[in-house]
């Protein structure tokens, strides 16, 4: 299991001889003269759920874009399940959920879920298990949208649209799910509900999740560990172990343990 001196390691609930989901070694990103991310070293094991917090502009989103081959590394290296990021992208090892659902407004919910099966077909042979054993219908059921298959995006609420986006992200059976403030634009009740759903999906599929948020309670409620980034330049400040047992319930947020870690993170965030 242990692989030498890697600074931050997040152990998941799967384990085994497989290479870790994400390994970052001294990764740096520059935007012009500005250093956006500096010396990020991180290992995320398969099956882990890590949440990422930090002051705005610290490079939380850039970190996810680095992992997903949207932003190139200027220094250091990143592997995903032992592969280069580009290979991992072509193999559809990961998928991405944005803050905006990013659905095609002319396609029904079910056709939006099918989109990944229709594009990038040139590289389909690189994906051994290209299609999930879950059909688009099953996936909409998994996210609680059974019966709304033929609804167009404008007929769905913001929370429902985001659930369609999650179903779409799962269609190619990725092993890593990258989520960039996916519930940031939703109201609190919808967000709580989707937080519970995402934990259920994580448990049922055994997928690895990296989840960027700006909400401390959300970060604690979801993650096994919280990665705190500091800004100027973006660096790992601390990897905080949440240590609360799963399954987690919303009522947990009232417990002294939850408040203690929340206070700790809030103080940490103020000094970042």
């Amino acid at each position: 299991m242990s692989k030498g001196p890697i600074s931050s390691r997040i152990t998941g609930n799967a384990g085994g001889a497989e290479p870790p989901a994400v390994v970052m070694k001294d990764a740096c990103v520059r935007f012009g003269d500005q250093l956006a991310l500096e010396d990020i070293s991180l290992t995320v094991d398969e099956g882990a759920f890590i949440t990422i917090l930090g002051p705005s502009g610290c490079g939380k989103s850039t970190l996810l874009r680095l992992v997903s081959d949207l932003v190139p590394t200027d220094d250091g290296e990143i592997t995903i399940f032992g592969n280069e990021v580009e290979t991992a992208r072509l193999k559809r090892e990961f998928s991405f959920v944005f803050q905006d659902a990013t659905l095609l407004p002319w396609r029904s919910a079910i056709d939006n879920v099918r989109l990944p099966l229709e594009i990038g077909v040139k590289h389909a042979h690189k994906r051994p298990k290209a299609v999930s054993n879950l059909s688009p219908e099953d996936l909409l059921e998994l996210v609680g949208l059974k019966g709304r298959e033929n609804a167009l995006p404008h007929e769905l609420s913001g929370g429902m649209r985001q659930r369609v986006a999650i179903a779409r992200a799962l269609i190619c059976k990725p092993r890593l799910l990258l989520m960039d403030e996916p519930f940031g634009a939703l109201d609190e009740i919808t967000r709580d509900h989707l937080n519970e759903q995402i934990l259920r999906i994580w448990k049922e599929t055994g997928i690895t999740i990296m989840f960027v948020t700006h909400s401390i309670p959300e970060a604690i409620f979801l993650g096994q560990k919280v990665l705190m980034l500091e800004s100027d330049p973006g660096r790992v400040r601390e990897l905080v172990d949440v240590g609360l047992p799963y399954p987690r319930e919303l009522s947990m947020r009232e417990t002294p343990e939850f408040n203690k870690i929340s206070r700790y993170l809030r103080n940490l965030l103020e000094t970042c």
């Binding site: 874009r65 949207l70 992208r89 095609l104 989109l115 990944p116 594009i119």
Partner: protein, 271 residues
Amino acid sequence: MNIDKNDTSSKVAKNNSVIAIIFANSWLPILAVIMIFVIWELVILIFGVPEYIAPTPSAVLETLIEERTLLFHNFLPTFFESVAGFFVGNLFAVVLAIAFVHNKMFEKAFFPIAVFVNTIPILAIAPILVLMFGNGISAKVIIAALICFFPTLVNMVRGLESVSPEMIELGRILSATKSEFFWKIRIQSSLPFLFSALKIASTTCVVGAIVGEWIGADVGLGSLIIEATYNFRSPLLYATVIVSSGLAVILFVSVTIAERLIVRWKPEHIS
């Protein structure tokens, strides 16, 4: 199921209420139009205005019915020129917009020329085109095409570029090729923009065809307008104007119906 039933029944109710609203909203303008016609008729009768200066609405209506064969024979060429110009101009604009979006160098080189062509008043360029292409139908089609071209070019470029940055990132994550992204995402995203341009073009192409006929033609609504004016046949002139405007309405409504059928979704960016 219950929810579905409620949805459809509420939709029916909504449709009914929409019709009711249209009626409720339109009786006032209809009444206003009738009043204007009545006043117009009375003013002409009371003040004894000669017919060649301003005909009464009833005389115009009479001409519309009596001269329907003449009007229809002149309507057809103008209709054909407008529609042909509409298709040529918009097709050319769409193709050029696609080229612009795919090649920024090309856009930089040719967009200023497109702007320049657009700044030339159509009335100034029409005689040149008639000289070049003769008295036949082609000059009118080209003038109608030219007048449609620019608004569609600008709107189509905007439409093709209306894809959100996140959608572009999604395409990259899914390893979409340029052509997959274009056909599955860009083209559809541009449709609401395209249709708002086509609605403009559907009325301006008629203007183009008529202007072309003014310069030189033996047939068509434009030439009938000139002929009726020179012969002081004012009721015929007014009737021709009404038919011309009817042609524009037909084209506008056709485009609107096509839009309703093709774009059934609500775009996120415009509205």
